[in-house]
């Protein structure tokens, strides 16, 4: 039972994390190859807050969100000056910068990381419920954004920035809003991670993690909430269920990303839509 609880907790954390990037990359069209830096910021904040500053699990989680969002706000400025491929490289640089800085800070445990992060105090089962409930809330929030005028404007910016300006949209402010919302939620996922694993170390927040999060969004279907949730859930449990997937995780993620980009850029969501269309046409 403990194993299943842990599995579902990891799944919930990854759903929250993938949906956080989906707001930035999926809804607003701003590519990020450094999302693990915000996830890591949240994890380190929560670890420091609870191990060294005497803060509770709850206030540590809140701090993780706020600090990740502030970091996201500044990185968001980069998206105002550069576009597309340049933004991808810039955010990748932010990811490496995060690793470089953390590695050199003794206060952050350097290469050794921070051990002894306390649990949530809710018990393993209670924590799983909290994480899954948060995942459901983030799904609901994502659905709400899509329905709101914020989602409408994000969609416009993702499709054509120049035309968005001609209909009066202040794209700078909206992009910053996407970064702040997305990185705050990534920070929350990071705090959950820290309290689940009870340890934070830089290896968990590197480039590979950033690509893994991006793979969940791209394979699920960029901007598709249900597609991202399904793929985040499946990709979270597969390595735990199948040893083969765990051994070749990078290879599998790479192959998935490659296949989606080459054969169906809509990802899982796009494939299902095509199938439904065909099915309706044959009906």
């Amino acid at each position: 039972m403990e194993y299943e609880i842990s599995l579902l907790t990891v799944m919930g954390i990854n759903i929250v994390l993938a949906l956080s990037l989906n707001i930035i990359t999926g809804f607003c069209g701003q590519i990020s190859l450094g999302h693990a830096a915000f996830y890591g910021t949240g994890a380190y904040c929560a670890a420091l807050a609870t191990t060294q500053w005497g803060m509770s699990f709850w206030s540590g989680g809140l701090l993780a969100m706020v600090v990740a969002a502030i970091f996201g706000f500044f990185v968001g400025f980069a998206s105002l000056r550069v576009r597309d491929d340049f933004l991808a490289i810039t955010t990748m640089g932010v990811g490496f910068l995060f690793l470089g800085v953390v590695r050199q800070q003794d206060a952050l445990g350097g290469e050794m990381g921070i051990a002894g992060v306390p649990g949530s105090g809710l018990g393993e089962f209670g924590f799983m419920i909290l994480v899954l409930a948060t995942a459901v809330l983030v799904i609901a929030f994502s659905l709400y954004i899509k329905r709101s005028w914020l989602g409408f404007a994000f969609d416009a910016i993702a499709q054509d920035q120049d035309t968005s300006r001609t209909v009066g949209i202040d794209i700078a402010r909206f992009k910053l809003a996407a970064f702040v919302l997305g990185t705050a939620i990534a920070g929350l996922a990071g705090s959950f991670y820290a309290h689940h694993v009870r340890f934070v170390g830089i290896d968990s927040f590197g480039f590979i993690e950033s690509i893994s999060i991006l793979a969940m969004v791209v394979v699920g279907g960029i901007g598709s909430i249900w597609g991202v949730v399904v793929v985040a859930a499946v990709l979270s449990v597969l390595p735990l269920w199948l040893q083969f997937v765990a051994d070749y995780q990078l290879l599998i993620y790479g192959a998935l990303l490659f296949s989606v980009m080459q054969f169906n850029q809509g990802g899982l969501d796009g494939i299902v839509r095509q199938l439904v269309r065909k099915w309706r046409a044959n009906d």
Binding site: W149, F152, A153, T163, R165, G168
Partner: protein, 269 residues
Amino acid sequence: MELYANLFESGVQMTETLLTVSNLLVTFGGLTAVNNVNITIQEGELVGLIGPNGAGKTTLLNAVVGRNKPSSGQISLGGSDITHEPSYIRARQGLGMSHQIVRPFPGMTPLENVTLAAGLAKTKNPLVALFTTSRSAEEKKAYDLLQLVGIDEVAERDVSELPLGYLKRLEMARAMALEPKFLLLDEPLAGLNQQEAEKLADTIKLINANGQAIILIEHNLREVARIVPRIIVLNNGEVLTEGPTRQVLSDPTVHAVYVGERKTINAST
């Protein structure tokens, strides 16, 4: 005609100056596209902007809406200087432009394209946008505008399926959804057959009759001559002449410019 009554306030004063462009210079590298241009548009006016290809017409309007940065000169809208305002602020302050090269949001239906523009108050900032979900009023307005330009039957279609003539009218409806003080139309009739062009030209005339100030770039001089009372002619980035339509179109220098372009003017039609 009651459809239009809902969309526009009538009885606008026609004597106030709406737009002033002073000594405008736009250069691209070594090329001067717009050279020391001065124009004034009154509220409620319908003005034609004509000239051969490469005369600087589109560049001039792009500078007015903030797509091009002028090297020098000044642009004022309703008395306030907007020369250095970003394009989204100009859109909010009342400049709506329908572009020659159409750029609909490709992943949205025509209705969504126009609805987004109609929701100017709701996209004011991210916070307002986050806490607003209702679209029904904007959709109603968008649908009416699509009806006005004659493409309501494709309101829910995929924009990638639409021919150019439809997309031109979609651009116009989207610009009008901003409820602009000043509507800039860049070749809205291009890509339409003569019957459609006549119909849309009538619509433009009607919109103007409801008090909407409009500047119209158009190569279809037959329609320009039919609906526009005043014309500005650009050539080589400079104002060649301006004045009442009949007088301008019968001007030998204007003829010379167009004959150079192998075009004929049927000013009398």
